[in-house]
Amino acid sequence: MTKVHPHVGLLVTCLVDAMRPEIGFATLKLLEQAGCSVSVPETQTCCGQPALNSGARGEAKTLAKRVVAAFEPFDYVVAPSGSCLGTVKTHYPELLADDPAWKRRAEQVAAKSYEILSFLSEVRNWRPEGVRFPAKATYHHTCAGLRELGIYAQPLKLLEQVDGLEILPLEGETACCGFGGTFAVKYPEISTAIVSDKTRQIAATGADTLLAADLGCLMNIAGKLSREGRSDIRVFHPVEILAGMADGKGVAGR
């Protein structure tokens, strides 16, 4: 798969689709900049993670098969989310393990699936050029990207090359923000307590921008910052910066 212009299937993810399309369009733009031709399969809905994490294996399996079938034709599958991609890459093969044919198909799709930042940096060797975003930012490493996919240095490497952008160290940068999908709604008190630690640590950096590469986590942190009245901190997905599209409002509405 060393095509000059690989054909990428974009897994938009249900949250980006419904809540913040900008992240999807930024991803699209970056993929094209990185020399890919991009398709957005129309049959995609959701990767099935909420079902999987609720214990609804049957429902999760049905959705997994649909995603596998929809994305099989492409050279690569790319998503702007570590947790959705982690579901595809690490959980589908295990979820479909009892059906050898499906398991094989799931493994093939898993093998060519990438989270956008690691795809740009590792597979496409892409670097931002002439991108400017003057800010003092800090970076939260989202759990699934970090621990299921091993993404840590890749995003920082890309962001380093953005003009005017300084990344300040964040205490507890790899600690969970307390989102956890449906956890945030099922156990709101705990979830809120965990995210208050995160916002406290973010505020302590003195940064004016928070970056993290998963919309669920971004909504959680932004929601807490907003509730605390921290209107001085803007919240973006890194692809919005890299694509030069972070000129509008951030996730926290500012």
Binding site: A18, R147, C176, Y187, S226
Partner: protein, 472 residues
Amino acid sequence: MSTALRSPANFKRDAAEAVTKPSLKIALDRTTGLLQRRRVDVLKAYPEFEATREVAKNIKDHTLAHLDHYLAEFEKNATAAGAVVHWAETPEQACKIVIDLCRQADAKSVTRVKSMLGEEIGLPKALAAAGIERVETDLAEHIIQLADEPPSHIVIPAMHKTREEVADLFAHHHKEPKIDGEVGTLVESARGELRPKYVAADVGISGANFLIASTGTVVTVTNEGNAELTTELPGMHIVTAGIEKVVPEPQHALVLLRLLARSALGTEFTQYTSFFTGPRREDETTGPEAMHIVLVDNGRTQMLASEMRPMLRCIRCAACINHCPVYGAIGGHPYGSTYPGPMGSVLTPALQSLEVAKDLPHACTLNGRCQEVCPVKIPLPDLIRSLRDDTWRRNLVPKPAKLAVQAWAWVAVRPSLYRLVSGLANYALRLWAGPRGMIAKLPLAGGWTQGRDFPRPTGPTFMTQYKRRQGR
């Protein structure tokens, strides 16, 4: 929270209450933060950690696969050394054996070294019911005994207590309390209080960190030196241990010991590591005349036969607990069990029942940090997921939640319908938000907006906008 009221069935309520206690938060932050940093530091000087984890995992897996073989070997060698080995299937049986032994020794007072197995089987309560005075010698256990509270952590049972709270307790309960705001002085106060009680005890009860099959040896580790004082002075030493504690040979225990101290407290080695093999020998004039070892099943053989088997590799280091964000927010008590945090969320359903502990596997963000730090590589998130599957299958998930997931999944396999529904939801949210960027109150998502705002969608859905751009 008194011991009687705790049950994992009250998890939601107790957790919601716990996050409102400022002193708990202070205690947890001070402690888990320090333990995390120490662990990182000690592992910097131990690049062999990863290789050792793999060896440790293999040792435990091998032993578990041949558990009956090794238990028989342990029994044979411990008996040859003069110890008596007892077997208990349930907590009740285990407690009865211990109480009968205490009666046999005509015991009025027993000293105890912290043992989570002892807590698990409810030994403190059983001793009280039998009218036997129990002296907890581990400092943390001493503190919570005075406070009449259950442990909230498996290595530092009084983790939920600040030094100020401990000072209050000692001021009330110690004969000659020493208090001046320093932790060192509090330790001094406890030393003075406990020393005479070691000498007066009739029976010493300990747990075991490892059982060595090839020599019939019980291994304990403490930092305080209380295991040796507890077991050496009285005439009888009783050990209670789970059957999964056995390892084949001393060399295997050494590998696990290297991991245990580093993972638990961020130190190279525990201060006192003792190997007990049988009771007082003929040529000795000190040491207990009798040694009894009570081996407890309590659900372990069932775990062995299930998907939960990897959990039996656990060496009770608490690294998963110290790195768990949920534990860090609520402490150990809401888990309603001897075992809190990630390891507890897997163990408690097995030791009690999934029915009462049905919240525990769900009260987890699946962030994966626990697995990352576990020295014996237990795939805790996978086990937690698997328990969630069980709650779903066995109808232990609340009806509305189950229906919501089912309805949503039903829609998600119908793309055109899904587009319609997500488009409507998107539109409704924007309408509800009006011109504001953030939503402070959201019907049906009260949980979320109780402590956080919810973002307003920035425009129509991606799919809608994308189609428009494609000119369709």
